[in-house]
């Protein structure tokens, strides 16, 4: 398991390799599926063009909340390993923001684990996004659709 909060960009190939090696070390040969999700900055939104986003976080709590979430996913979906990285600070258009990866015996558990991590991250990890263009910046409002996605997982068990 790993959970990183960092300013610098990440190499998704390295994160995949780390996840696979952790999964093998724990339960050699029992990992049949690895799903990864990467979130990137899109250069437009409902309000018009942007240069990028800026992420504020709650140092200390962010790391703990992300670790706790990953532990929950591992237990709930019987994952052989899982990991996540979330960047903070200024991130420009087309750059990577977030990565989650889940390893499991079967493909459905790996897909469900990654969906769960993304849906719940948007609910329980203290990160806040501003969109900026030049010197102007605007807070991104939380979306009702994100709440609904997270609620789905809470009501299923």
């Amino acid at each position: 398991m790993f959970a990183y909060i960092q300013e610098q960009d990440f190499d998704q190939g390295e994160l995949y390799a780390q996840l696979q090696s952790q999964a093998s070390a724990k339960t050699i040969g029992n990992t049949g599926a690895i799903v990864t999700f990467t979130g990137l900055v899109r250069d437009f939104n409902n309000a018009g063009d942007i240069d990028g986003i800026e992420l504020e976080h709650y140092p200390g709590m962010t790391e703990k909340a992300l670790s706790t979430l990953i532990d929950k996913a591992i237990e709930r979906f019987s994952l052989t390993s899982a990991g996540a990285v979330h960047r903070v600070g200024r991130i420009y258009n087309n750059e990577q923001i977030v990565w989650v990866g889940c390893a499991a015996a079967h493909r459905q558990a790996a897909f469900d684990g990654a969906c769960f991590l993304m849906d719940m991250l948007k609910q329980s990890v203290p990160l806040w996004k501003k969109e900026f263009k030049g010197d102007n910046s605007t807070w991104v409002e939380a979306k009702g659709s994100d709440d609904a996605a997270a609620l789905k997982w809470m009501s299923e068990r």
Binding site: G39, L55, E56, H57, Y58, G60, M61, K64, A65, H86, I97, V98, M118, L121, K122, Q123, S124, V125, P126, L127, W128, K129, W139, V140, E141, A142, D146, D147
Partner: protein, 86 residues
């Protein structure tokens, strides 16, 4: 009872107070809760009153909690808007 208050994002900008140490005052037979802290902060000034309006999330010692959560001396209490990571 002394606690530390922290704010983030819009809540930080509106309250104009990223961090604050306050003395939560309650009757001797009452346990101090997040709700007491909110009531006390609202009285501080207009910025705090505005900052704590609407749907605000709360955390005690870096764990999400609700307004009925009971506090102990030295606790870190945070107020912030719904999160928008991912």
């Amino acid at each position: 009872m002394q606690i530390t208050v922290k704010t983030f994002a819009q809540t930080r900008e509106i309250s104009k107070t990223p961090t604050l140490s306050i003395d939560v005052v309650v009757d001797s037979d009452t346990e101090a809760t997040i709700a007491h802290v909110i009531a006390q902060l609202r009285e501080l000034d207009r910025n705090w009153a505005l900052a704590l309006e609407g749907s605000i999330l709360t955390a005690k010692n870096q764990q999400l909690c609700d307004s009925s959560t009971v506090l102990s001396p030295g606790d870190e209490v945070a107020f912030f808007p719904p999160v928008t990571g991912g």
